[in-house]
């Protein structure tokens, strides 16, 4: 019913900006698939990421997760999901929702 009211354009409470699920947390030779790294478009510094911390992700309509913390200085973000993101989704879009709100 909700979808009937809103077209996709208006429904953008979800941030449909391109978020790239870049990779899983890793060092050179070891991967830690429980945490993914996500690049949020338009966010380029650590300080900007702090706005998103605590917000929820929805990836591929299946995985729910949270934005806990930034990763490095350039606005990449670490995200943990209820179940690990499948490796196929590296490079795929991911959505961030604006709640829990803090404004």
């Amino acid at each position: 019913m909700v979808k009937g009211h809103q077209g996709e354009g208006v429904r953008a409470m979800n941030l449909e900006i391109l978020f790239n699920a870049i990779t899983t947390l890793r060092s050179k030779s070891n991967q830690y698939p429980n945490t993914s790294l996500i690049h949020i478009e338009g966010v380029n510094t650590k300080e900007e990421v702090s706005w998103y911390c605590g917000k929820q992700w929805i990836a591929l309509l299946l995985h729910l997760g949270q934005v806990p913390r930034p990763h490095g200085n350039s606005g990449v973000v670490r995200a943990k999901f209820k179940s690990n993101l499948p490796p196929k989704s590296m490079g795929d879009r991911v959505r961030v929702v604006m709640y829990p709100g803090n404004i």
Partner: protein, 233 residues
């Protein structure tokens, strides 16, 4: 019992470290004036006779003793406090709802209920949002405020929003099939009237402000290139 100490009264015997007071027992005796209390009472501490115990009705022996010892659950004396509101949330603030059926709608905040949830209304005529409870986390508080001083909110509390307790129907065989048909849920008329009363006041304050009505009827959405972390609400 002696009346409670006035607010702001500190203890007479401050702690040096936890568990160790500054003053000794004999010093405290003097500080508390126990010698004066004794003197007033003829050299002895005043005795209070225990209140006569109410005559106990002889307890009937219970009819039923459980076979096993049943453990009693521990007493839970926790009291529920309503959530602390963010500084940006004051009565009359315009919210943007972030989730749920009315996602993206701009609504007016009325008051916080004892459960901590926020009571909110569209107003209904303006954007179709009825009197509703909303969680603080699912809301963005904008800096726009509406004057709600004329609105009477005394009758709204969490009880008002509770579901009607469904009466348990005893199902006979024939009634099984009838019970399948659920009655259509119709909003009772008095709730509709409440909505109208509250909204009548609100709409007056809203129409007094230029463009506020159109603002409230429009939905919020993120457009291409909008960065929420750079938006000022």
């Amino acid at each position: 019992m002696a009346p409670k100490a006035a607010t702001g009264r500190t203890s007479r015997n401050p702690d040096l470290i936890r568990g160790v007071g500054k003053f000794s027992r004999s010093k405290m005796y003097h500080k508390r004036g126990l010698w004066a209390i004794k003197a007033k009472n003829g050299g002895v501490f005043p005795k209070h006779d225990p209140k006569p115990a109410a005559a106990e009705t002889p307890a009937k022996p219970p009819k039923f003793y459980p076979a096993d010892d049943v453990k009693k659950p521990l007493v839970n004396k926790r009291k529920h406090k309503p959530t602390k509101l963010r500084a940006s949330i004051t009565p009359g603030t315009v919210f943007i709802l972030l989730a749920g059926r009315f996602m993206g709608k701009r609504v007016v905040f009325l008051k916080q209920l004892t459960s901590g949830l926020l009571l909110v209304t569209g107003p209904f005529k303006v954007n179709g949002v009825p009197l509703r409870r909303v969680n603080q986390s699912y809301v963005i508080a904008t800096s726009t405020k509406v004057d709600i001083s004329g609105v009477d909110l005394g009758k709204f509390d969490d009880q008002y929003f509770e579901k009607e307790a469904e009466k348990k129907k005893k199902k006979g065989e024939g009634e099984f099939f009838e019970a399948e048909k659920e009655e259509k849920k119709v909003l009772p008329d008095d709730k509709k009237d409440d909505q109208k009363t509250v909204d009548a006041q609100l709409i007056k304050s809203i129409e007094a402000v230029l463009d506020l009505k159109t603002y409230l009827s429009a939905r919020f959405s993120l457009k291409s290139g909008m960065k929420p972390h750079e938006l000022v609400f």
